[in-house]
């Protein structure tokens, strides 16, 4: 049962569309391994090449598996698994010549299409998925018709056009919508995912990490995707107050900043008082496969399944692999650590020995001038402000004495450089200090009533500690480029350097985000809680999962009942042909009596067969058939009413079998 060329191209198209978004997530060698068999098959189909010998096919499979193994360094984990599925499917293409194979490939393409949702919950993905599903359905329809022709060596004279196949597929999809909706509403949902994704297999792609070296945040500036969205209840903080706290970095090795193990293990002491927390808000965090939950200073409540460290990072127990919503309250007036433990103080002062001598000299000069404590902090900020520092994303790479080079040679950099240099200078002046990374600002959507924070809003700032005053936030970048804080990271740059920098495109992008937000609210976020809310609103308070499953089947059953008349319709009686409508009625009665007519039999032939089957009604059958035959074929047809009358009177008795 070979597929014809048209079916083959449909199959290839389905697979291509299904795998296209996955290709962007795969390492380049794997992409090549996935595209090679696909391109070969297309070429083979056009040029009429023969099947590859088995040895080459097996060889290709082996090469593909090795490529996968070395590119992903593991077989396991979502990405590697999806790559495996993709590559295996395209490899299957080179040996798929039968309808069975084609159907297999199309079905797996549907599966591949579903794997998208493990990576993204973007609003566009369901649309893309719908296109893929329609394409797959058209292909399946085509294959099915193809098979019907071939399997029985007979070809019904149906010239199936693309539109008829498309129409049929759309009809099928429409029929599936109520069932899909029922599953969405009724399928039992758990608070946690049904299956956990092993943590080791996560491969973070974006967002902040627990280390910071020159360039690490710069990459984020180019990433326009949303990091999280915030809805405030009540007071909305000013833009300059929107410092979203993420990883806190203590240890500096001369080039890279790292987190501190002590601070992470400790509980904050004292803790902010929840009753004083004035900022109450709900964060919808995009999956980033990391542990940090972002909050404004200082979080007074702990979101579910997470803990707050002594430096006020909120760490979730599991990494965020799907859209996560948490509510939190913050108290901006809280004083963080009026007393600092000795080991933490040591960590907040530690510097690599003998590095950045020029900077050290500058600090010592200021100290000799009698500056210390807060006054020195101000002096450094003034220095940043008055020296010709330049805020730019294009900064030269720095060597081992990075702070020296930055302060005296390049004078060009962005938040990372300023925060890093400032913190190092503070430590040189014996002021405990640390770096906080996170996001600053956000775009407030008046229409959507929420704040959108993008990856490009990533920011780094410093905190200095003074006895009794605790940790105080100092943002040296603000001293250099106040616009960075006022307008957001990209607003601080003189020329657009990204497609989305153009304001109208940015506006469009922000508009799309409002739709995405609604989608998140209504669809992605729909969880066990929202499910219960819906049922309790119609008076069903205690829906247990088994009850949900039962309701699901009841609803689907009811829907199927609605479809029943359409399913058992013999064939739509045509309004143009009243004779046929009457005749179909007759055939229906015969069918009810256990005799099914073959479409290729003429009326009198049919009457003979039916009479044999229902001998006691033979006379009536012959009469009807004769009337019909005459109505249709003779030169002097009897009036239609005669036939109608005869059929009206026709009530065949069901044949009784002897036992």
């Amino acid at each position: 049962m070979a597929t014809n060329q048209k079916a083959t191209f449909w199959m290839i198209a389905t697979l291509s569309v299904a795998m296209a978004p996955q290709l962007f997530r795969m390492p380049v060698p794997v992409v090549i391994m996935a595209l090679l068999p696909l391109l070969w098959r297309i070429a083979a189909e056009i040029r009429g090449w023969k099947t590859l010998p088995a040895l080459i096919r097996h060889g290709l499979t082996a090469i593909a598996l090795l490529t996968l193994y070395f590119s992903h360094e593991q077989i396991g984990g979502r990405r590697a698994a999806v790559s495996l599925l993709t590559v295996m499917l395209t490899l299957k293409l080179i040996e798929s010549y039968r309808i069975r194979d084609a159907r297999l490939i199309v079905s797996f393409s549907l599966f591949l299409c579903a794997t998208q949702f493990m990576f993204t919950q973007d609003i566009l993905m369901p649309l893309y998925g719908a296109v893929t599903v329609i394409l797959a359905l058209v292909t399946l329809t085509h294959l099915h018709r193809n098979e019907a022709y071939i399997a029985f060596d007979k070809t019904p004279a149906i010239s199936a056009s693309l539109f008829s196949e498309l129409g049929f597929s759309l009809r099928l999809l429409m029929l599936a919508i109520p069932i899909g909706l029922s599953f969405f509403l009724f399928f039992p949902r758990w608070a946690t995912p049904l299956w956990g994704i092993p943590e080791a297999t996560l491969d973070s792609k974006s967002g902040l990490s627990d280390s910071m070296s020159p360039g690490s945040i710069q990459n984020l500036f180019m990433d326009d995707s949303p990091a999280f969205r915030v809805k405030f209840q009540g007071i909305i903080p000013r833009s300059s107050e929107l410092y979203w706290r993420g990883p806190v970095l203590w240890n500096f090795d001369g080039k890279t900043w790292h987190g501190n193990l002590f601070s992470v293990d400790l509980e904050p002491e004292p803790r902010p008082d929840e009753s004083k927390a004035v900022w109450k808000y709900t964060v919808q965090l995009e999956p980033n496969e990391r542990h940090w939950l972002f909050s404004l200073d200082y979080p007074a409540t702990t979101p579910f399944n997470s803990r707050i460290t002594s430096d006020f990072q909120i760490l979730r127990r599991q990494p965020v692999t799907q859209l996560l919503q948490y509510s939190i309250a913050s108290d901006p007036t809280f004083v963080d650590s009026p007393k600092l433990a000795d080991n933490l103080k040591m960590a907040a002062l530690d510097l690599p020995r003998g590095s950045n001598p020029k900077t050290r000299k500058l600090i010592e000069r200021w100290k000799r001038e009698g500056l210390d404590g807060p006054a020195l902090v101000d002096r450094v900020l003034v220095y940043f402000n008055q020296e010709p520092f330049h805020y730019s994303l294009e900064s030269p790479l720095l060597g081992s004495n990075s702070v020296d080079e930055f302060l005296f040679d390049t004078l060009t950099g962005y938040c990372e450089h300023y925060a890093s240099a400032f913190t190092v200078m503070m430590r040189m002046a014996d002021i405990p200090s640390r770096i906080v990374t996170g996001y600053q600002g956000g775009w407030y959507s008046g229409m959507g009533d929420y704040l959108l924070v993008r990856q490009s809003d990533a920011h780094a700032w410093s905190e200095v500690w003074f006895r009794d005053r605790g940790w105080i936030r100092v943002d040296p970048t603000a001293a250099v480029s106040p616009l960075r804080i006022a307008r957001g990271s990209l607003g601080a740059l003189s020329a657009p350097r990204h497609l989305f920098d153009y304001s109208w495109l940015r506006g469009l992008r922000n508009g799309v985000d409002i739709v995405q937000q609604r989608w998140n609210d209504w669809v992605i976020k729909f969880n066990a809680e929202s499910q219960m809310r819906i049922f309790s609103s119609i008076g069903l308070e205690q829906m247990t999962p088994p009850m949900l499953v039962i309701s699901l089947f009841v609803v689907i059953g009811l829907f199927s009942l609605l479809l029943l008349p359409f399913i058992f319709r013999v064939k739509g009686p045509s309004r143009k042909d009243p004779l046929r409508a009457v005749w179909l009625k007759f055939l229906k009665r015969l069918k009810a009596a256990g005799f099914e007519a073959i479409p290729s039999t003429g009326p009198s032939e049919l009457a003979q067969a039916a009479a044999r089957h229902l001998p006691q009604d033979s006379q009536a059958i012959y009469q009807v058939a004769d009337l019909y035959s005459r109505s249709r074929y003779s030169a002097t047809p009897p009036p239609l009413r005669e036939l109608k009358e005869a059929i009206r009177k026709f009530h065949p008795r069901k044949k009784h079998r002897l036992r």
Partner: protein, 320 residues
């Protein structure tokens, strides 16, 4: 004022002819036992002015059928055994110079008969075959610039042995097309065979058979058949059938429009034989295999015989 009279008389005349026709059919059935269907098809062929091809192994009654039909319809009958050395002149006739009258005189060959049995048509050379087939197509023969019309009715029954192919010249498709129907007789069923073995010899029965029809009757009956009504719905069905044969998934080439005309003509004759004034799809379905089996070659790759293919094709075309 004679017209109404005519109209009144005609049905009676038709009835008379038709009754005798049915009687003739019955007589042939009595001689050729258990072959009602083939006999009916032979009569359809005769009534629709076509020619008949009988393809079967020797000894199943091909000649008997042709003989019996010729006998009951009481028309001029000739039998020609085709051999490889037969020449066109042996069929068509020759002009011989008459010295006393100083002119050529035409001596008509066996083709100048109303019913001709051509035995083993595939044994003669293509030249001789085409001499006959031209006559079948044109109802006239041209010899030395003189056109001689053939007697009417003109009915050729040819036989062909499909198994014995050594030293034969199989008819090309264009010539097979001259035959309206092709039938196979097949072995008789056990009851018919027992009767055949026990009752008197067929040839003696043939001798005793008296003609029931005249050639004028045949001509009139042929005209009667043409009056059988064909409705639009039936034409739809015939066209659907023709269209289906042209789909290359079944046969290498489909049926020609001429074959379609033949199909309709023979279906009319069949309806007439059934004593019906209109054609129904069942008539078409009975005629169709005989009409199609020698015209269609199954597409390569099919293990089925043309007959099986045709039966399946008929099952595929729905009747409204």
């Amino acid at each position: 004022m004679s017209e109404p009279k005519d109209q009144q008389q005609q049905p009676r005349a038709v009835e008379g002819r038709q009754a005798r026709l049915l009687e003739a059919q019955k007589t042939v059935n009595g001689i050729l036992l258990g072959k009602d269907q083939q006999v009916r098809l032979s009569f359809c062929c005769l009534l629709s002015r076509g020619h008949l091809l009988i393809e079967d192994v020797p000894g199943v009654g091909k000649t008997t059928l042709a003989n019996a039909v010729a006998r009951v319809i009481g028309i001029d009958y000739q039998r020609i055994q085709f051999t490889s050395d037969l020449l066109p002149a042996d069929i068509l006739g020759v002009s011989i110079y008459k010295r006393n009258r100083e002119e050529f005189e035409f001596h008509p060959g066996p083709i100048f008969s109303q019913i001709i049995l051509v035995d083993e048509i595939n044994r003669a050379t293509p030249k001789t075959q085409s001499a006959l087939l031209e006559g079948m197509a044109e109802n006239q023969v041209t010899i030395e610039n003189t056109t001689h019309p053939l007697p009417q009715p003109f009915f050729v029954v040819a036989t062909q042995n499909p198994l014995d192919l050594v030293g034969t010249f199989p008819l090309p498709e264009s010539q097979l097309d001259r035959f309206l129907l092709s039938i196979a007789l097949g072995y008789p069923d056990p009851i018919a065979e027992r009767e055949l073995l026990t009752t008197e010899e067929r040839s003696r029965m043939l001798d005793k058979t008296t003609p029931l029809l005249t050639s004028d009757d045949i001509k009139a009956l042929q005209n009667d058949c043409e009056a059988v009504h064909v409705s639009d719905d039936l034409l739809d069905y015939v066209q659907a059938l023709l269209k289906e044969t042209r789909d290359d998934r079944w046969f290498e080439t489909g049926l020609s429009p001429r074959a379609g005309l033949y199909l309709l003509r023979a279906s009319r004759a069949h309806a007439f034989l059934e004593d019906r004034s209109y054609v129904i799809p069942e008539d078409v379905k009975i005629i169709f295999p005989g009409l199609a089996r020698h015209r269609l070659t199954p597409s390569s790759g099919f293990a089925q015989s043309p007959d099986e293919q045709i039966a399946e094709l008929l099952e595929q075309v729905p009747i409204r």
